[in-house]
């Protein structure tokens, strides 16, 4: 079955620094990848997605990198702000539904 994992359960960065959150996946047939941000007590919020025919996609202050060779996904946040403090997930689609793994909690120090 699919396994979704993140390399670190917590990440602490200084305000203004760049953040990198990593995700490993096991299903080489996955063709769509997505990142969510979840603030405490709130629902997961879509950040950015990428399809397998791309290896990089940029949004506003965020970049997702996809390395299909090693089945690795990363989310880069530029100039991290206190409002970026949240848990970040990279769920995978399995049979038409999103399966979540353990998230990474990002803490931003002022």
């Amino acid at each position: 079955g699919e396994s979704v994992g993140l390399h670190l359960p917590t990440l602490s960065v200084q305000e203004g620094d760049n953040s990198i959150i990593n995700c490993a996946y096991s299903n080489s047939a996955s063709d769509y990848f997505i990142w969510y941000k979840q603030e405490s007590g709130k629902g997961p919020q879509f950040i950015i997605d990428i399809r397998s025919n791309m290896d990089k996609r940029q949004g506003q202050r965020v970049t997702v990198l996809l390395n299909k060779t090693v089945k690795h996904l990363s989310l880069q946040i530029a100039a991290t702000q206190p409002g970026d403090s949240a848990v970040y997930f990279c769920p995978m689609y399995q049979g038409g539904k999103l399966i979540f793994g353990q998230g990474t909690e990002l803490s931003v120090k002022p």
Binding site: K42, P44, Q45, G96, L98, F100, Q102
Partner: protein, 113 residues
């Protein structure tokens, strides 16, 4: 833009009582998903509906049931509540099978006392 609406936002029930959670998906989305998230846990898939028919089932207890109505809103019914059912319950909607983002509601926080 319209988002996924869940009600109520907070619910307190006693053990062995029943609870009904409601979800109103984004207009024209044909798929609804329900997730349960315990404290410090990742969201766990419970059940999904496509065009008002159950499409998939996850780790949903037999005490729980759900349905999607003709207007596409969905309800999660929970009976014989246990303390361990205390959690955040999220509903999400999307276009089925399109591998696009699912949009989540703000959740219902259920507390069983």
């Amino acid at each position: 833009a319209a988002g996924v609406i869940q009600s109520p936002r907070h619910l307190i029930k006693e053990k062995r009582e029943t609870a009904t959670l409601k979800c109103y998906p984004i207009p024209r989305h044909d798929t609804v998903y329900w997730y349960q998230q315990g404290p410090g846990q990742d969201p766990q898939f419970l059940i999904s509906f496509y065009e008002k028919m159950q499409s998939d089932k996850g780790s949903i207890p037999d005490r729980f049931s759900a349905q999607q109505f003709s207007d596409y809103h969905s309800e999660l019914n929970m009976s014989s509540l246990e303390l361990g059912d205390s959690a955040l319950y999220f509903c999400a909607s999307s276009w089925y099978g399109m591998n696009t983002e699912a949009f989540f509601g703000q959740g219902t926080r259920l507390t069983v006392v």
